[in-house]
């Protein structure tokens, strides 16, 4: 175990808690910056998708993981962002401005969805957001004059101050920058009163309220911020995919987003990233492996669903804290190496209580 000798309150609010953190995160950054020279084009594209999904993941993590509000319609925000970006850049708006507008529009929509969230919880909130997702999808499909309807629309390459981002590498760097900014923003929020208010609402609404936390304000704020991040991710997604159609933002996409943070680890910023890595690499891994499997299995349609579902079940069963939780255990194990005792991480019996009374 590493012991950090604390001498100063400021230590607790620093982002990097000790030298080790600093070292490893710098190394990671370095690796990410060098990625275009290290990885083949295909993998760089995957990495770009990972970054994009991480941004969306951060958003839904903020909402579900830290504020405890589960949204089953988050793909709608992704869609709003993507379409806003597509339409605005098409009308010649420069990329940064369009991105800001996409984020703003998503946030505004998030605000509207946040309103029912003030009155309903749990499953009801899930259904409200689910319904909202369906409605947005329908609007995107029906509002043909703007969205091109179900035929979908193409998106131009992003232009930054008259400079067109032609290559995958350039776009990768753009995503990397946005991701870093988004991550820092979230980390800052979490160590400040706003973030604490979110977490308080997650744990107990009644005491949060009695501590003077304005539930309505913070819930809508959480919805908006989360939607804004999803909107940014959607905008980048639109550029990366170059073609968007309403059904890309359907319920399955929403569930994917939720799965992402569950598998990554609900309630940790790391989880959003690990989940995104998982979500993107999993289908690739299956696609790579299936050519080596016996025909009856490898080529069978549905294999992906089975693997996907099995992995999800396995995570919930064996690692409810997600990938990040697993990593924490591995790390603790390594740090304590000779002194590790069995049963240390043994799951305690726990007992469910109605969440209708929260």
């Amino acid at each position: 175990m590493r012991f950090i000798f604390k001498t100063d309150y400021a230590q607790d609010i620093r982002l990097a808690k000790h030298g080790g953190h600093l070292f490893w995160y710098s190394a990671l950054m370095l690796l990410l910056v060098a990625a275009p020279w290290l990885f083949a084009e295909y993998w760089l594209a995957q990495l770009t998708f990972v970054l994009i999904y991480s941004i969306a993941g951060l958003g839904i993590m903020l909402l579900a993981g830290f504020t405890g509000l589960f949204s089953l319609g988050h793909a709608a925000f992704l869609g709003v962002g993507a379409y806003a970006q597509a339409v605005l850049t098409h009308h010649g708006m420069p990329f940064p401005l369009a991105l800001a507008c996409a984020a703003g529009l998503s946030a505004a929509v998030g605000l509207v969805v946040g309103l029912p969230a003030l009155r309903v919880k749990g499953i009801y909130l899930g259904m409200a957001t689910l319904s909202f997702g369906f409605i947005v999808e329908e609007v995107l499909a029906r509002w043909e004059s703007v969205t091109g309807g179900n035929a979908g629309i193409h998106i131009d390459k992003p232009t930054l101050f008259g400079w067109v981002l032609e290559t995958g590498e350039q776009f990768y760097f753009l995503c990397l920058i946005v991701t870093v900014i988004a991550t820092l923003g979230i980390l800052n929020l979490l160590r400040s009163p706003t973030g604490r208010a979110f977490v308080a609402i997650r744990d107990s609404e009644i005491s949060a309220q009695s501590m003077g936390i304005h539930l309505a304000y913070y819930k809508t704020l959480s919805f908006s911020l989360s939607a804004a991040l999803a909107g940014v991710a959607g905008a980048l997604y639109a550029h990366k995919l170059q073609f968007i159609s309403p059904d890309q933002f359907n319920i399955m996409q929403s569930i994917d987003l939720l799965l992402m943070i569950v598998i990554g680890g609900v309630g940790s910023v790391h989880g959003a990233f690990l989940g995104a890595i998982f979500l993107i690499t999993m289908p690739q891994a299956i696609a790579l492996v299936k050519d080596y499997l016996p025909e009856a299995v490898g080529q069978a349609p549905g294999l992906q669903g089975v693997v996907y579902g099995t992995v999800l079940i396995a995570f919930v069963l064996f690692e409810p804290m997600g990938l990040y939780g697993r990593w924490l255990k591995v790390r603790t194990y390594l740090q304590m190496f000779p002194f590790y005792r069995k049963g240390m991480f043994k799951r305690q019996k726990s007992f469910q209580k109605s969440d209708r009374l929260k």
């Binding site: 084009e41 968007i244 890309q248 349609p301």
Partner: protein, 370 residues
């Protein structure tokens, strides 16, 4: 040249193997495999064996892009053949075009598969738009219908049918008396059918695929409502009469190649169908034929392009190609440097006694489109 090695040509395809039209995707894949095996048994193309990699898109554009990226950038395929689905193709094409990979004969009859022009686009399927534009007025006149209505799937596919029907009716000075739609996956069509019944429609253009076609017609039959129904080639599948039973008799659909029944009259088709059935232990469908023909056409062209096969040499051969009608009765096709749709002609077929029967000659001038 990407995807071509000394003794192998690598092809990629993306099918819906687990989504809503997985039934089609699976058949198309098997048809392709049959063709690939035949080609390889005969020594390949100019000494190169064909290898086909198939990915699953589950009818999801995003997955299609990921699959295309894998095929194009990771596996480095030479060409994308028979990719199913309109939106999926739309999403995947940019990835392919960036790497100069041809989108060869996608399995969807949307006009976007050859328009706007791109040198890497080739389409063989008579567009839904043209199918309906030509077939609807013809049949309306034949039937002497007074009021024409439509029920379409509210997505890009359904819209093509709608627009084709609209433009076709315009040529005979009519328009849709009632337009109704549904969302993909819908199971209840009672209010749409009632609406059309209430407005007295006696001719209905269906922009539907499988279950929706059956569901809509079934609903109408139960309401004692029996107008003339016509669907597009998307509804031209043996599943319609197999699932829908006798209620489906009388349905018209536009089509190009015939469904290969294993007890078909024409011996060539029967032979082929039984070969397929022996190999895969499943009845072939019209989608098997699509897959089979696509790969065979590829092989013909690639064979002509010679040993130094490359994207450019392939395009060169392709752009002066004339394909005659095949055993399945496809319309003759021709391509040029500016004409990337083989043929816009289709014919009309009807279900009688639980089987599709061709009831018309090809309508539409193959040379009509540029």
């Amino acid at each position: 040249q990407q995807g071509i090695s000394k003794d192998e040509i690598l092809l990629g395809s993306i099918q819906d193997l687990s989504g809503p039209i997985a039934g089609f995707g699976k058949q198309a894949r098997l048809g392709m495999l049959l063709a690939v095996d035949e080609i390889n048994e005969q020594g390949g193309i100019n000494g190169r064996k064909v290898k086909l990699l198939v990915e699953d898109s589950a009818y999801d554009p995003k997955k299609a892009v990921l699959a295309a990226q894998k095929l194009v950038n990771q596996d480095k395929i030479f060409m994308m053949v028979g990719h199913i689905g309109t939106a999926q193709n739309m999403a995947a094409m940019p990835v392919q075009f960036e790497k100069n990979v041809i989108n060869f004969f996608p399995i969807t009859a949307a006009r976007e598969m050859y328009e706007p022009f791109h040198k890497l686009k080739y389409s063989y399927a008579a567009p839904y738009y043209d199918q309906m534009r030509l077939a609807v007025p013809k049949l309306v006149k034949e039937k002497g219908a007074k009021k024409v209505c439509t029920l379409y799937q509210d997505d890009d596919f359904g819209l093509e049918v709608l627009k084709g029907g609209e433009d076709g009716l315009k040529t005979i000075g009519m328009e849709f008396a009632e337009k109704t739609s549904y969302k993909r996956g819908a199971t209840d069509f009672s209010s749409q059918v009632s609406k059309m019944q209430a407005s007295g429609c006696d001719f209905i253009v269906l922009g539907t695929i499988i279950r929706e076609t059956i569901g809509a017609i079934g609903t109408a039959r139960k309401l004692g409502y029996s107008p003339t129904f016509i669907g597009s080639s998307a509804a031209y599948t043996d599943l319609i009469h197999k699932l829908g039973g006798p209620a489906m008799n009388g349905l018209y659909a536009t089509m190009t190649v015939q469904n290969p029944y294993t007890d078909e009259q024409a011996p060539a088709i029967r032979f082929w169908a039984n070969k397929y059935k022996t190999k895969f232990n499943e009845d072939p469908t019209v989608f098997s034929v699509y897959g089979y023909s696509i790969v065979n056409t590829f092989a013909t062209v690639a064979g002509k392009a010679g040993k130094s096969l490359s994207t450019d040499s392939f395009i060169k051969v392709m752009d002066s190609l004339n394909i005659p009608s095949d055993i399945f009765g496809s319309a003759p096709q021709s391509f040029s440097a500016t004409k990337r749709l083989g043929s816009s002609a289709s014919r009309i077929s009807q279900i009688t006694d639980g089987k599709w029967k061709v009831v018309s000659e090809y309508v539409g001038d193959p040379a009509l489109k540029k």
